[in-house]
Point group: C3
Chain length 313, copies 3
């Protein structure tokens, strides 16, 4: 594994899940990467990713240094060949180039602007860090994917499923007041296609995910029908890919509550957090026995630790 | 000790003071809590608390991770049962629930809004972290109390007093330009009631502290009379409890200077910091031999270390 | 060495360069300063200095704690004897006094306001930290000097020069859109005067540096003539010292490009970063084989490590 930005970077995802579960059982390995340095660069706010990746790095005995670009540092220029006479103080070539001299591995968090689809889906920012740092780079969520989350999601499903047959996993859209990235659903779909599960996606028309991730995955526009017999339901809002970045509807009948749960095979209910209670998922679910969102969050430590261990080892 | 939010959480405060003083003599114990993680969550700015609690955790060999909610993270919802369609991105149930998965002990800093007394004195925020994290929680100052400060204050008095008789300790109000919480005076009173000292409170009328903390402590409205024979004077501004959050007067005759000091038994002068020079305490005192405010600040490391040691041990 | 704020604080600069180069060859010394604490105080944003000084401290086995004053803390009062009834929450006497109790060494980053030359050149802020902390203080760039940068610059020149004769080093002004401090050029000149090099300064009229640093160094107002035969060219913008803080011109013929490089002895091109591409230095240079700016940046770790090692040892 050279970088960790997508399931495509992972030769054997099943083995990586097993490794993460093994680290969960025995997380503290302070001699593993002693003296190694990991830079954790945030261009956007973060709670779980910030905390879990620091803990993961510490568990391996390496040193994590967090940098909030734009807050601790300054705004970066990503365009090539410009005369920098505006407000951007430094070019990514130098910023990432310097980080490449300082660290052994780099974690980078970027967000899409949700205005220009071509730009967002080109992963300009993440790719610039890879190109100019010369280091192994771990996506701490990018414009289009969130692989550390998906790896933790897979771990969580594995912990709840020991049957031989494949579980039915449903990814369902839910309403939200803000336009959110497609990164988590894109990524979940990408990883679940590699996992021993049967995946169905359900959402209102117009919320189809990008073909490069969702192709070959069945879409059922009727949520109730999609949920029938589900063993795991992943609830998540995203904005439209085709009418890029738009909120097409906020139909609260898609909020996930006990009515929806009743349609499933007593499904475990998943969310990547942060979750808007009462809007995306109802309190009765989040406070009930089917919710496993906090377990997903805990597994973020070990998904990160498995990946950093690969890249620092 | 399950949490550390008040002197009431401490079975034997005298023993805790002794423990803190012993740690001051020998602070560096890197094997004590190796591999343990402490989350330090700040909902408000901080200098001493931020630095001293990081140092305390490091001295015990544990890892401290600082998170500035609202700056590193996002605004939290504390109300139960709301539909989260406003600006709050995450509910405390999930935020604290996740931290409960990531850390062994949590330190939390909150402030009162000084608008709704019932709300502030309910300690809604601190209690929500306790309830939903499931972890031992250390108050790094809450809406109504600042126990790590009071423990450090007690240590400082103990270091300056080896006589058999009880010292006279006076808590005096002083003017300020901003409306400040009652947390430090409430807490000082609460701890001094458990300490082998004779405590008097002095302030202009209208600044009476909440009965739950100050009851049974003599109040003397005449500052000069209160200061007579004092061995220690704790100077501090606070806003009104009864006309909640109000500044009732800014009478600068209450500023603590050499005139006031002359009335005491050559008292040591204390303040929790930050202190407004020339307004709360005059330069002649802060720059003179009676001021022990920097010693109080140093003791913040060891009061925190004693508490974290209890909870991590 | 008591503090590190200028080349004047260093008894033997050549030996310090050698020490830094030795640390670069063998940076990881986790037992050197175990249990020691270094406070890194930023009154201004920083990328390289923030990262490199944290790494330097970690490499020595000490603990670095970063504090962003004004962001993590609050605005400080530096004036003596004022009644603090404005917006400043704490006086430097207490803020630095407390840090003096918490740390073994302090790193401090300040910037000039570029309004009042007397004030900036008095180094009021840096000197207040020295005076009131009572600790060894390392300048992480001050109003008028940037000695860690200059030490790294010297290391970089030494790594590229093994001839007996002295290299010709040219410091050339370049245009910029913002008024920048004179700290980097002042400091470079100060250190190069102590180094075995021949230094020439070139800039448009009006950009003469302060006599206390630049006296005895030849100034050539014709950039082309200055660059003739140069072995190293340090490109940097600064605002006027004599018309203090002013931008006198933005003449882009001073931008450093291949035309300028052609005049030199195939010079290595240096910059302290961040650099405005296309304005200060052209892409053709920064992306070409003569640029050594990333090597300078890497050496920031070891210049800091050498200095912290001296002060923690």
């Amino acid at each position: 594994m050279k970088n960790f930005t997508s399931v495509k970077d992972v030769e054997d995802p099943v083995a990586l899940v097993q490794k993460a579960l093994a680290l969960k059982a025995n997380p503290f390995n302070p001699d593993f990467a002693r003296g190694k340095k990991v830079g954790l660069i945030f261009l956007n706010p973060s709670l779980r990713t910030r905390l879990s990746s620091q803990i993961a790095v510490q568990n391996l005995g390496a040193e994590a240094i967090v940098l909030d670009i734009g807050k601790d540092g300054w705004a970066l220029e990503f365009e090539d060949g410009v005369k920098m006479n505006g407000s951007k103080a430094e070019h990514i070539k130098e910023a990432a180039g310097v980080m490449g001299q300082y660290f052994d591995v780099l974690g980078v968090r970027t967000f899409p602007e949700l205005k220009d689809r071509e730009l967002d889906y080109s992963e300009q920012l993440l790719n610039a860090f890879i190109k100019y740092s010369g280091l192994p780079v771990v996506s701490l969520e990018s414009a289009t994917l969130h692989p550390l989350q998906s790896l933790a999601d897979w771990m969580t499903i594995a912990e709840h499923w020991d049957k031989k047959e494949r579980p039915k996993v449903v990814l369902t859209w839910a309403p939200h007041v803000k336009a959110l990235p497609q990164a988590v659903p894109n990524s979940f779909v990408e990883w679940m296609k590699a996992a021993p599960v049967d995946l169905t996606i359900t959402h209102p028309e117009g919320y189809e995910l990008a073909g490069q991730f969702a192709e070959s995955v069945p879409v059922e526009y009727n949520q109730a029908r999609a949920l029938e017999g589900a063993d795991f339901v992943y609830v998540k809002n995203w904005s439209s890919y085709h009418q890029y970045g738009q909120i097409l509807n906020q139909d609260e009948s898609w909020s996930f509550g006990s009515e929806q749960l009743a349609l499933t095979n007593n499904a475990k209910v998943m969310h990547c957090l942060p979750v808007r209670r009462g809007l995306v998922i109802k309190d009765e679910i989040l406070d009930g026995p089917n919710a496993i969102h906090l377990q997903q969050a805990k597994n973020r430590i070990y998904s990160a630790q498995a990946v950093f261990a690969e890249l620092l080892g």
